[in-house]
Symmetry: C2
Subunit: 351 residues, 2 copies
């Protein structure tokens, strides 16, 4: 056996004879102090003499003691775990946010429990119940489908951080992105390029984010003195195929348009394929703008013009806010303003 300790084996030295895990009691015995003294230095609950502290540290190191979070959870009520609700763990957008949450929580000693709501309020309510049963110390809801009311109720039992809406309540912190401004920005970009007939591929009507983006689209058009043509607004469901279908629908209804603003990047990519299928070139025949700036969107063809949304940052900020809440402080955090990323899928209207 090499002298280096093997991975996955913890810090326990080879001469540790313990069968089961090392307990506080064993540490106490080895250090010649009482069990509660060990617990205290572990939690920093009280001051202990330097002498004993060293003896204990030594014993901990030698035995390779590692506290049992389960027992801790039972006795202390804190599990050092945060529940995170998202609609689908494999969402390209929220994936980055989850990574942000993980990166922020890990150094603080917290673990995250990711659960998927599957776009259903019922499933989401189940998730909440599940997380509460697991005694998580807090819950982060990434753009859930739950009502504001339900969230407020939930916040009474444990801290809640929610993204995608603005909401004030005790123990509740919300982190919203200015989707309206983003929608306006995207539309204005196309307007600036000379486009006048701009189609809009919407998101689910139940989705507040999507509606805000639509509102931004309308506002930009109206500010430019252009009437919103309802025939140019087609529904979508935030995934690629719905973008493709939206384009089909647009083309079959024989609408005239020179640009498309898709409510998210996934639909934009689907739309690009749909246009290609109909022999329409992006951006030569139709300009295209998305929303989200997924990490892959710069590799789309053509590289997608879009509104940057800081998914990773969103996760970090949400987690950071949760940590603040847990510490009894009132979080202060704000998402950066929407920013247009002009790439190659949009160009000046020729003529």
């Amino acid at each position: 056996m090499k002298s280096k300790s093997r991975p996955g084996e913890g810090a326990r030295t080879s001469r540790a004879k313990a069968q089961g895990p090392v307990t506080i009691e064993m540490v106490a015995q080895a250090a010649g102090v009482s069990l509660s003294t060990v617990s205290r230095i572990l939690n920093g609950t009280a001051v202990v003499s330097e002498l004993k502290r060293q003896a204990i540290d030594k014993a901990i190191a030698e035995l390779g003691f590692v506290p049992n979070p389960v027992a801790r959870g039972l006795a202390g009520g804190r599990t050092l775990s945060i529940g995170v609700i998202t609609q689908a763990i494999d969402s390209p957008f929220y994936g980055a946010a989850l990574r942000g949450i993980e990166d922020e929580l890990d150094p603080a000693g917290y673990n995250s429990l990711f659960v998927s709501g599957h776009w259903s309020p019922q499933a989401e309510a189940r998730c909440i119940d599940l997380l509460r049963a697991r005694r998580v110390d807090g819950i982060i809801v990434l753009t859930g489908r739950l009502t504001d009311q339900a969230l407020k109720v939930c916040a009474k039992s444990q801290p809640v951080v929610v993204t995608g809406r603005t909401l004030k309540a005790p123990g509740l912190f919300s982190l919203n992105f200015d989707n309206f401004e983003g929608g306006r920005l995207a539309t204005q970009h196309l307007l600036d390029l000379g486009h006048r007939r701009i189609a809009f591929i919407a998101g689910d009507a139940e989705h507040p984010d999507a509606n805000e983006r639509l509102r931004g689209y309308r506002a930009a058009l109206e500010a430019a003195g252009i009437a919103v043509d309802p025939a140019l607004v087609v529904p979508g469901q935030y995934h690629e195929v719905s973008g493709l279908m939206a384009v089909d629908r647009l083309l079959e209804s024989r609408q005239q348009f020179t640009a498309i603003f898709a409510c998210n990047d996934q639909m934009a990519v689907g739309a690009a394929l749909g246009l290609h299928r109909r022999s329409l070139r992006v951006p030569d025949d139709v300009s295209l703008v998305g929303f989200d700036d997924l990490s892959t969107s710069m590799y789309a063809f053509p590289p997608l013009s879009t509104i940057h949304q800081p998914a990773y940052e969103l996760g970090r900020l949400a987690a950071s806010a949760m940590l603040q809440l847990l510490a009894g402080k009132q979080p202060v955090a704000e998402l950066p303003a929407p920013r247009l990323i002009a790439r190659e899928s949009s160009r000046r209207l020729r003529g």
Copy 2:
């Protein structure tokens, strides 16, 4: 207040007067039986008379009792949670696998604890320690960087399911995908289309999957009587930008080639952009084949020819195997054979 119970509130009725959570003891008292009898029917540990069972069921429903997993974990040693190690939670490929795991585990009452190894063996070892400290009932490792030896050691403490390698040990089940055959298939496809100068964008040399695919590439070439040209094999790191850089490298070294086989879809997409930047059209000037068949690859431009890898199924199978292991059975499961998905990024060599 509406009569329907609010989400996130559990089944607890409004007349429950409990402050804190309902305990087994309270249920027992309400049903006029002993605490352990309740525990027994909860776990199906023993047979109980129909009469008491009904009384207990009633009490449970009325009080809205929900077992405390934390206490359960401490007392019984089972936490009903499975640790899942992946390299990055937001990986497009493993995201689907995570969803599969979640879908399979959830109905069985298990939760998953996702942790990221960040492509580092050290970090991965930390993950293992963390999961074991959390007393997970089992660990699923999605193509980890740990040594076989470390995994075997780990399997002594709790069941382990590992993907991306073939390994036999007690309490350990492995689920491998035939990457060699996949690599061979992809290359053969290009060969069949008449290509002779086929470049290969490799994955990390440390990555067994990537090496197998390379081996498949070589085997196909050799079987066709074509010498492998080392200059046509360029390194990559499995993400988009490395695909782009690989193409740059290839072009700058003025190699002649009519097709590229990229070791995964992400690099293929990057390569497509690289080619476009150099005014080379896919597939007219260069055919392109990827590997993985990410859900987005059919929306790439042009839709990507690739080797289908069942990520979601992989997750389900891994989780299912874990459930079997937990039940004391020897899992039997095998991944489907690699399958070529021919789309529009590859075409017959003209001339």
